[in-house]
Amino acid sequence: MAAFVLSRLFYAILVVFGVSVAVFFLIRMGGDPTSLFLPPDAPVAEIERFRHLMGFDRPLLEQYLAFLGKALRGDFGMSLRYNEPAMALVLDRAPATLALSGSALALSIVIAVPLGIMAAAFRGTVIDRASLVISLIGQSFPAFWLAIMLILLFSETFRILPPSGRGTWQHLIMPSIVLATYSTAIITRLLRSSMIEVLQADYIRTARGKGLSEWRIVMKHGLRNAAIPTITVIGLQVGALLGGAVITEEVFAYPGIGRLAIQAIANRDFTVVQAFVIVMSITIVTINLLVDLSYGLLDPRMRKA
């Protein structure tokens, strides 16, 4: 167990390090923030002076080593725009985004799991086709478009939901729906196809032969075995949800991590982008760990591995 935890920890560090390296250089390829900070008529000398003061004119490797040295001591630098510690800015926003992606994921699972099971159990029937159409509708319009349509409908026309901001649970409804649509579609489809596959397997036929009720077969054997790919996808969706939060938060003016990140990227607020991806990568590594652990729980054959 100790070896397992250690190797996992080493792995997590590897991933976080890899992400920080990649993002450090990638974000700098898009130019530094000097021109975004200074007025458009700033003279060249002033641009150079500012760049020098901020250290953007130093060799990239030198800048990276400076960043790494500080980061190892827990100092992720100051936000260039807000002039506040970058990591604190990111962590301040985390609860808002967690609330949003959490409720979106819950919504996805609540809709997708029953829908996927029913579609598989009643394959080829109206129920199956309905699940197909529902999952297709969800993923055929861009998130921002769906968001705008919901706002038009529920905020402008019926005036029952606040169009933007944060505070009450009503503020969470529309963003959660928008964020959940794609995940719902993919979880439904994948669960259906895995279930269908499992339901053809030999041991299921044996179970049928034993005269177990179809419902029992679906729930007990089918679901358990279809769970692995499904959980993998759900785990993946967490990453996608955090990514999708960028656009959703932007449209609904929801003060979460995604909105902070999109602005930091646009403003080349390097330190905030770096702090953001470090938080992201730690989250993703943790979720993957949970997903891997759940394999063992769900599939006795894998427990030995």
């Binding site: 008529d41 003279p43 029952i160 606040p162 933007s164 009503q170 409804i173 646009a266």
Partner: protein, 503 residues
């Protein structure tokens, strides 16, 4: 767990239909303003965005301000003079204190500018005030601003749209190396700071002791809402009282029993710049004139701007210094454009790049693509390239803008527009003319307004003939307002809530 979640969501879905939405704007003593972006800092010298300046201008004052007619008017300074061409002297109000009780006087003014002018302070808008070489305290309520050369546009450098010119309290601003001011601002303005939840809201409350008279509205909230439809939805549903940047198409639908529209032509300039530094047909004056004749700017204004905004004859706002109403833009005349192109040696036209950012300014992409359509009609094919703003900045810095460029610019004095954009060799300039250079230099260092007007009138003739730009319009600033709100927008884009009130 799953059952709990399901029933919880179901309950939520049912109860939402019966619950009225809480809206902050229902309270007549609260004013909610929705802008596209959040504030970046509460320190006026530490940011470079109008959306931030709009928040800070309620908390701080500058020495001078802009009146309803758009003229510079007294604020913290009551009067000014030029004892010599290199000095601007200001008399200050004597009855002003900062929100924390600190006294406003000449030392505060000197501290404000010394702080922002210190290179180590890294003020983003340093270049706006960098012509000031020193601030001298004459007595407690008199200050001198020194410059190296005569500096005619000093008043525009000291009013609120020149961001670092807002006056800060010296003792408080020095605490914790400025961190306190940046988090919890203290100024002399009509509103006191209450709280700032980043990306969510900035809350202010009325300052009953404001030297200009206490504001009528008790509480002001600034909310950042980037997406246009969302801002409109908030306005419609009563969540906000002022929504900035409304598209022209939505003007009619917002004139209702609950909302109204307020429009002002901005000081901002829409125009195309022709790159004459590379070897393209644009180096030929006849081609530049042809393009000026080829694009129907009036039609663009009528269709895309609903006729709002102001047509400009040269790249200067019609309310700018030295603007002459007798100036005429090139008339829309595609036949003449074709003739000019043929005369220049391009009877079949040519292909050229167009460069811009997209979504940066009201209808920028539509205007560029509409202009490209007009150019296609006279045989000029365009390859439009939209650059992401950061990339645009990087490209601009290396003088990498090519072809026909849509930069967007503002400035109410030729010295703030023509000088940086047309003077040979400056990094924003893609044009060179020796005669024009001399005039622009002269205009930059002359204080006497009449003399300057003559200089710029001569410069205007050259600019018209050489056609280094295709001047288009001053786009409108369109605000959606709560029907009962009385508030006047300003052409420079600054939001001033000092006189705002409900009917």
């Amino acid at each position: 767990m799953k059952h709990f979640l399901t029933s919880g969501l179901l309950l939520a879905a049912i109860s939402v239909a019966s619950l009225p939405v809480q809206s902050q704007a229902q309270d007549a003593q609260t004013l909610v303003v929705a802008q596209p972006a959040d504030a970046y800092s509460m320190d006026p010298a530490k940011h470079s965005a109008f959306t931030t300046a709009n928040v800070l201008f309620q908390i701080y004052d500058a020495l001078v301000t802009q009146d309803a007619e758009g003229e510079i008017a007294p604020a913290l300074a009551t009067e000014w003079s030029n004892p010599d061409p290199l000095t601007w002297r200001f008399k200050l109000r004597e009855d002003v204190t900062f929100h924390n009780g600190e006294k406003f006087d000449a030392h505060a003014v000197k501290y404000t500018f010394d702080r922002a002018l210190d290179p180590a302070f890294q003020a983003p808008y340093f270049s706006r005030i960098s012509a000031i070489t020193g601030v001298e305290v004459v007595d407690d309520y008199t200050v001198d601003f020194k410059t190296e050369a005569p500096y005619p546009t000093m008043l525009l450098t000291l009013y609120e749209a020149s961001f670092p010119a807002l006056i800060v309290p010296p003792a408080y601003a020095a605490e914790e190396d400025g961190a306190k001011l940046a988090a919890h601002p203290i100024g002399t303005g009509p509103y006191l700071f209450v709280e700032w939840l980043k990306d969510e809201r900035v809350v202010l409350k009325a300052n009953p002791d404001y030297w200009g008279g206490a504001p009528e509205i008790e509480k002001v909230v600034f909310r950042p809402i980037k997406e246009t439809r969302t801002r409109i939805a908030e306005l419609r549903s009563g969540g906000v009282d002022i929504a900035a940047d409304i598209p022209p198409e939505d003007v009619d639908s917002l004139e209702t029993d609950e909302t109204k529209i307020s429009v002002v032509p901005s000081d901002f300039l829409y125009f195309f710049v022709f790159d004459t530094t590379r070897d393209t047909p644009l180096t030929n004056k006849l081609v530049r004139q042809a393009i000026n004749h080829a694009v129907d700017v009036d039609a663009i204004q009528a269709a895309l701007m609903n006729g709002m905004g102001k047509r400009i004859a040269l790249t200067l706002p019609v309310n700018g210094f030295a603007y002459d109403p007798t100036w005429e833009p090139y008339a829309y005349d595609p036949e003449k454009a074709k003739a000019l192109l043929a005369e220049a040696g391009y009877p079949d036209g040519f292909t050229i790049k167009m460069m811009s950012r997209k979504g940066r300014f009201l209808k920028d992409a539509e205007i560029i693509e509409a202009s490209a359509g007009f150019l296609a009609e006279v045989g000029i094919k365009t390859e439009i390239e939209y650059l992401e703003p950061g990339v645009w900045g990087q490209v601009s810095e290396q003088k990498g803008r090519e072809g026909i460029i849509f930069p967007g610019w503002s400035g109410r004095d030729p010295n703030l527009v023509w000088y940086p954009l047309l003077k040979t060799g400056l990094y924003q300039s893609y044009f060179s003319n020796a005669e024009l250079d001399k005039l622009l230099e002269a205009g930059a260092s002359t204080i006497d307004p009449e003399e300057r007007k003559e200089i710029y009138s001569a410069a205007a003739k050259i600019i018209k003939d050489e056609a280094p730009h295709l001047p288009m319009i001053q786009p409108p600033l369109i605000y959606g307002l709560d029907k009962t709100l009385v508030w006047t927008p300003r052409s420079d884009g600054m939001i001033d809530l000092r006189a705002a009130h409900y009917e």
